[in-house]
């Protein structure tokens, strides 16, 4: 059991490291619909939508 725990921690550590360095990626998997539509942002359009609204 401890081997699994250790393996998982290593795996998790690498994942976190990569996520923190990896910039923007759509972690939600956007499996619920594409965000290509312009006028009607799909439910999972992340922070890209209000890019025009940022200061």
């Amino acid at each position: 059991m401890w081997k699994i725990a250790a393996g998982f921690l290593v795996f998790a550590g690498i994942a976190l490291y990569m996520l923190s360095k990896g910039g923007d990626v759509d972690m939600s998997g956007n499996e619920h619909g594409s965000s290509t539509a312009e006028h009607a942002p799909a439910a999972l359009a992340p922070a890209s939508a209000p890019a025009s609204a940022s200061k």
């Binding site: 990626v25 972690m27 939600s28």
Partner: protein, 551 residues
């Protein structure tokens, strides 16, 4: 009635069964998530050159392939699994999933091959959806049928970790490839590499799964000639079993699915879209909570062997119903405190003639909205702005921020583009003046706000583990061996594919209609509440069921 087995250590054979099943399922989730995480690149290479209506059809199909199609896979492969066996069926599902993913790596793009490219892509995505529909029921059934009585929850809980682990694996491979090759090469061609890697994962999974034996329960049934000749009609055509399938859906998997999506994906969406937290920060917060929460799948699966499946699953649903609003409110407090203050001090209202306001439901991202009222609300919702709707007959839709009023615009008018820019600029200026932040302040890792966010998010993930950890064992225990694969797969994939899959679109639609950024939570709350009531009344505890009693 069998008594709980004294916990003996897992045999090597049993470890192999769990390992092989889980590994393959992780890879299936990896394949499935690749498509979603890289959807922008996929769209750019396959869909964006199409004319709009064709593009919309393909986007719709891609969405359908991932979600709507899963229950059909459940039917096809569930039936196969009950007729020819678990081992061969979930060898087939992993082959289909692995091959269709692997082949994406070699697809020509629209630029090279024209319309054939997106058609081929959608076909492959459909195969993925079908394969996934068959995989989970097979893996859960296979492991459960090897588990000693009294340990089924613990044994199957390992399968329950695979969706989360598969997602992390997909992210790591994608990020690693992107970092190594750089953005440009990744967008050009290196995006194919994570797909190609699937070939290696497939080879490993097939090799491992070929070493497995058929589940003893099925093998026994086959040797006695008692397998079902028509699992579909036995599962759903006979009311005695069909009603259990319905209760499994409404009293178990529907609620489980909305809590799963609520705690794993809706939180991410909420952090980014409503709280305006930047992508990388939000990703890390969610990832940390998933990592901290993942061991609880196994914990609750194991605990369900002692105290029952129902108490844990029902408690998870009830906790979601009772605490989602305060927990998400707390996310705002620690994630974007300025936003919370602005909402209290300078409320925003949309004033419009109710007749010009439509339902904002964008299930697949292809809906278009053109009335001033709709456009105003979509813009505000997407900008994470909390607002109230005020009906005023005859009014031209306008947005009021404090005492400033900004007229909306007609999306169908010839000057719509300019008007859109004007509207958004003016609204943004008014919001800024009223103290609404365009972005959340940075949240340094390890700061007290960051830690509180991790705590709240982890609690939400723990709810996920409560409803999901024991559910594989419970579904297995609800049905006899001869129709188990068929009967448990369908409610699982309707629950997770449909009730869960549509959660983001439905929740967003409610937010856009209501204006309140928390109102999207009503959907998971109502569904989880329904499951709690139906589950408590109609679904029986199953942990002490002898799963071979009706064979």
């Amino acid at each position: 009635m069998a008594t709980a087995a004294a916990p003996r250590p897992m045999s090597e054979g049993e470890k192999m069964v769990i390992f092989a099943s889980s590994l393959g399922t992780i890879f299936e989730w990896y394949d499935f998530y690749l498509f979603g995480v890289m959807s922008a690149i996929i769209a750019a290479n396959f869909f964006s050159a199409l004319d709009e209506s064709t593009r919309n059809i393909f986007v719709l199909l891609a969405f359908a392939a991932g979600f709507a199609v899963r229950p059909f896979g459940a039917l096809v492969f569930g039936r196969l699994g009950d007729m020819i066996g678990r081992k061969y069926t979930f060898l087939i599902t992993i082959l289909i999933m692995g091959l269709s993913t692997f082949l994406v790596a070699f697809l020509p793009t629209y630029k090279t091959a024209g319309i054939i490219a997106p058609i081929a892509l959608i076909a492959l995505r459909m195969f993925q959806g079908l394969a996934l529909g068959g995989e989970y029921g097979g893996a859960a059934t296979y492991v459960a049928e090897h588990a000693p009585h009294g340990r089924r929850g613990f044994y199957t809980s390992w399968i329950q970790t695979t969706a989360t682990v598969g997602l992390m694996l997909a992210l790591m491979v994608i990020l690693g490839t992107r970092t190594y090759f750089g953005e440009k090469d990744f967008a050009d061609w290196a995006w194919r590499i994570p797909y190609a890697m699937s070939g290696i994962l497939l080879a490993i999974s097939v090799w491992i799964r070929l070493k497995l034996n058929e589940s003893p329960a099925f093998a026994k049934m086959k040797s006695e000639g008692k397998t079902s000749k028509a699992p579909l009609s036995e599962s759903f055509g006979q009311w005695k079993n069909a009603k259990i399938v319905i209760f499994a859906l409404l009293g178990l998997t529907a609620g489980q699915a909305v809590v799963w999506y609520g705690g794993q994906f809706y939180t991410l969406f909420f952090l980014q879209t409503f709280l305006r937290i930047d992508g990388p920060t939000a990703n890390v917060l969610i990832a940390v909570s998933l990592i901290l929460g993942t061991p609880f799948f196994v914990f609750f699966g194991a605990w369900s062997d002692k105290i029952g499946r129902k108490p844990i699953i029902m408690a998870g649903c009830l906790l979601a119903v009772l605490t989602y609003f305060p927990l998400f409110g707390a996310l705002t407090t620690y994630g974007n405190p300025k936003l919370q203050q602005a909402i209290q001090k300078s409320p925003v209202t949309v004033v419009a003639d109710a007749g010009s306001c439509n339902l904002i439901l964008n299930l697949t991202g292809t809906a278009k909205f053109t009335t001033p009222c709709d456009l105003a609300r979509v813009y505000l919702s997407n900008s994470g702005v909390n607002y109230d709707s005020v009906a005023q007959p005859g009014a031209v839709a306008n947005v009021k921020v404090g005492d400033k009023s900004i007229a909306s615009y007609d999306g169908a008018a010839p000057n719509a583009k300019d008007e859109k820019a004007r509207f958004e600029k003016e609204v943004r200026a008014a919001l800024n003046e009223a103290g609404y932040p365009a972005k959340a302040d940075p949240i340094p890792v390890g700061s007290s706000n960051w830690l509180m966010l991790v705590l709240i998010l982890t609690i939400l993930v723990v709810y996920v583990t409560m409803v999901y950890g024991p559910v594989a064992a419970m579904l297995v225990e609800m049905f006899p061996t001869r129709i188990r694969y068929t009967s448990m797969s369908l409610p699982y994939h309707i629950g997770n594919g449909w009730f869960g899959g549509f959660l983001p679109a439905i929740s967003f639609s409610i937010v856009a209609a209501q204006g309140n950024i928390y109102s999207g939570l009503w959907y998971p709350i109502i569904i989880a509440g329904m499951t709690f009531v139906i589950g408590m009344i109609m679904v029986k505890e199953t942990k002490d069921v002898d799963i071979y009693a009706n064979d």
